[in-house]
Every structure is written in C-alpha cells, then in structure tokens.
C-alpha cells in the first residue's frame, strides 16, 4: 500500500510539480474602432530537458464603435491554459472576470498543466491549434500551424463583445458579456445535444435591426465501421441569452455527411493539409446568407451550402460543365 502511494505520488510529481508552465502572448490582438481583433497565445510546459507548447487564438480585443473613451474597450484572454476571462478597465480592482462555460469555469483535466481548450475561433484559424513538442535529445514534433494577419483576423464588434470558443472536449460555445458575467453557452443540436466539431467558416452581420453571428462546422460523429462528419450551421442573435442552435445541412433532402476521410481532412486543416472548404461568403440575397462551398471526398463533387436565420441550411450540388 505504502509503495503504491509512493509510486502515485512520484507520478503526480512528474506530471504536476516538476515542470514549469509559462503563458505569453505570441501575437497581440489589434483592431480599429468597431472591430474585434484576435491574437495568438502561447502556453509552454517545460521540464527534464523537454517541452510541450500550444499556440492558439487566445486573446481578442474589442474597440466598440460609438462608445465613450475607455468605455468600449474589452479584452478576452486566457489567464492560464484553461481559464478564459473578459477584462475591462472600468471594472476597477477586479478588471478581469472569468467566463463561465455552461455555468462554471472551464476546468483543467486532471494532471494536465497545458490544455488545448478553450481556444477562440477567429476567421482564419477557426479554432485550430499548433502543438510543438521537443525532447531531451533535441527532436522536435510539430503538429498544425497558426496564421496571424492583422488585416484578416478581425470581425465587427457584436453586442456583448461576442466571440466563439471551443471548450473542453471540443464543444462549440458562444461567449458574450451578459448582465451578470461573461458567459459561454454551448451550441446545441436539435434534441439538445451539445455540438462537438470544427468550425470551417465564421461570419456576422446586421439584418432586421439585429446583429447575427453564424458558423458552419463539421460535427464529428462516429458510426459503426467508419467516421462520418455531418455539416451543421449554427446561428444566433447576438443579444440572445440562449446558446447557438445548430441545424444539419441537407443535400437532396438528406443530412449531408462527409464520410470517412473527411474527419481527418478537417483535422488536416489544423496542419495545413487539405480541407473540404473551397470558399465562404456573406451575401445579400433575399436577406443575408452565410454561404460555404465544399468539396465532397468522392472524386470531384462540389456543393454550395447556404444558411439563413430561421431556415434549415441547405446544400445543392454544383453542375459541372
């Protein structure tokens, strides 16, 4: 018994106590008035001559249009690997408030010091991360890549300074400042299940006196013998106190799924390999629509998918001529 406890204590020491963790901002967020800019956070755990580093979108700064000086600037940041905060100077001594993921702070898994989640979803990295591992022999493993371009990584500031985030377990959340606290509400599919997936496009717009935020995502789903990925569109009004609702896209009346390899293709998006997304746009066509063009992994089918608040998202195969 004593020996087991000693071994456990030793392992815990290896995992928790004998390494150092550093959190820095690799690329700060910049934005002009009326825009929210995103930046890259770097979390490193080092010890015994080795290190493990995660780069991810972990800061976002808002410069709200039309607000008084100092009144419209808010910053989202990761205060350590797993805690997302919203900071505002006018809040005084406790200028940073912890974002509550479905009611509580995003928690670390046991014995983990550097987590991949939460990660903010910006328009070009879309929640993907880069991981770099080095060992005592000097070998380095790199998975994924992170892009940072100040012109590209901004979105309009929305009511509540909203951002999309991927929380623990890969669940998609939408975060905003609510009257009592910054809250991240999980995206839900029909039936109330939490949506786990990878965003592939992010847009927001004003229409009908409301501000709307929308993402297209590939939702992971294991089915016997293979992996399939369903394609969903998640839309919400920015001032809503409900989480986003995700609806599956249909093709020819049936839910669109990207079989087998697509899930890895989606992962590949994190590492610079192929992704199934050709393009995405916001267009005005009988109301604002969030459009994505996708390739299906079946030798050359292209589909155009369109989402609009209140409507079921639909995809149509492109005729190839």
């Amino acid at each position: 018994m004593k020996r087991s406890l000693a071994v456990l204590a030793g392992l815990a020491g290896l995992l928790v106590g004998c390494s150092t963790t550093t959190e820095i901002v690799a690329h700060p967020a910049h934005s002009a008035r009326g825009r929210m800019g995103f930046g890259v956070a770097q979390s490193t755990d080092a010890g015994f001559g080795s290190s493990f580093t995660v780069f991810r979108t972990g800061v976002a700064g808002a410069s709200a249009a039309g607000k008084e000086i100092g009144g419209g600037d808010y910053v989202w940041r990761l205060s350590n690997s797993s805690t997302l905060e919203l900071c505002h100077a006018a809040w005084g001594a406790s200028a940073c408030r912890t974002a509550l993921f479905d009611g509580g702070p995003n928690a670390f898994p046991a014995f983990v010091k550097v987590a991949v989640y939460p990660v903010l979803v910006d328009p070009i990295n879309l929640g993907r991360v880069q991981m770099v591992s080095t060992d005592a022999q000097g070998s380095t493993w790199v998975y994924g890549s992170i892009a940072h371009g100040e012109d590209l990584t901004t979105v309009p500031v929305s009511p509540g300074f909203g951002v999309w985030a991927i929380g623990g377990g890969g669940t998609i959340h939408h975060c905003r400042l609510e009257p009592d606290a910054p809250r991240c509400r999980v995206a839900k599919a029909a039936g109330g299940a939490s949506v786990t997936g990878l965003p592939v496009s992010l847009k927001d717009w004003d229409d009908g006196g409301k501000h709307w935020e929308s993402i297209w995502a590939l939702m992971g789903l294991a089915i016997p013998g293979q992996l399939a990925t369903s394609v969903v569109a998640c839309v919400l009004a920015s001032d809503s106190n409900e989480g986003p609702v995700c609806k599956p896209a249909t093709l020819d009346g049936a839910p669109l799924t990207l079989q087998n390899a697509s899930f890895f293709a989606a992962l590949g998006g994190a590492s610079g390999f192929d992704t199934p997304v050709l393009a995405s746009h916001l267009i005005s066509d009988q109301g604002m629509r969030h459009v994505v063009w996708l390739m299906l992994p079946d030798n050359g089918t292209i589909v155009r998918c369109s989402a609009h608040p209140g409507d079921a998202p639909t995809c149509v195969k492109a005729q190839m001529e």
Binding site: D45, L278, N299, I302
Partner: protein, 71 residues
C-alpha cells in the same frame, strides 16, 4: 508528457497514410462576391482542377450552383 507525445506522433503519422487524407481534385484560385442588383449579391468561386489543369468558375445560377470551364 509521454501520452501527449504518443498522441502527437499518431496525429502526425495518420495524415501520412493515403487512406486518412482525401486528395481533393480542386484548389481555390479566388473567391469573392459581386453586386447583381440593388440589394442582391452573388458569390463566385474560381477553382483549378488539379487533374487536367483547367480553370472553372462556380456561381449560383437560377437552376442552382454551376461550375463552368473557362479555359
């Protein structure tokens, strides 16, 4: 750390196998929106076909999305 490294190794190796990663036949050349009416826009995607080097212009026609060869 060992588990993390093993996971990283698997993630790195997996895409190396052809079965894991589809080879899509198209790549994006350009995409944009164009104004086609007072309050109406259209989206256009230009794609290159890796199989024969041709260029296609994809747009949403009245009959639905269409990709026309332009070269």
């Amino acid at each position: 750390m060992k588990t993390i490294r093993s996971t990283l190794l698997l993630l790195a190796l997996c895409p190396a196998f052809a079965a894991c990663v589809p080879v899509y036949p198209y790549h994006v050349v350009s995409s944009h929106t164009i104004q086609i009416g007072d309050r109406q826009e259209a989206d256009v995607v230009w794609v290159g076909d890796l199989r024969d080097g041709s260029l296609k212009r994809c747009f949403n026609s009245k009959e639905g999305p269409k990709c026309e060869r332009v070269k």
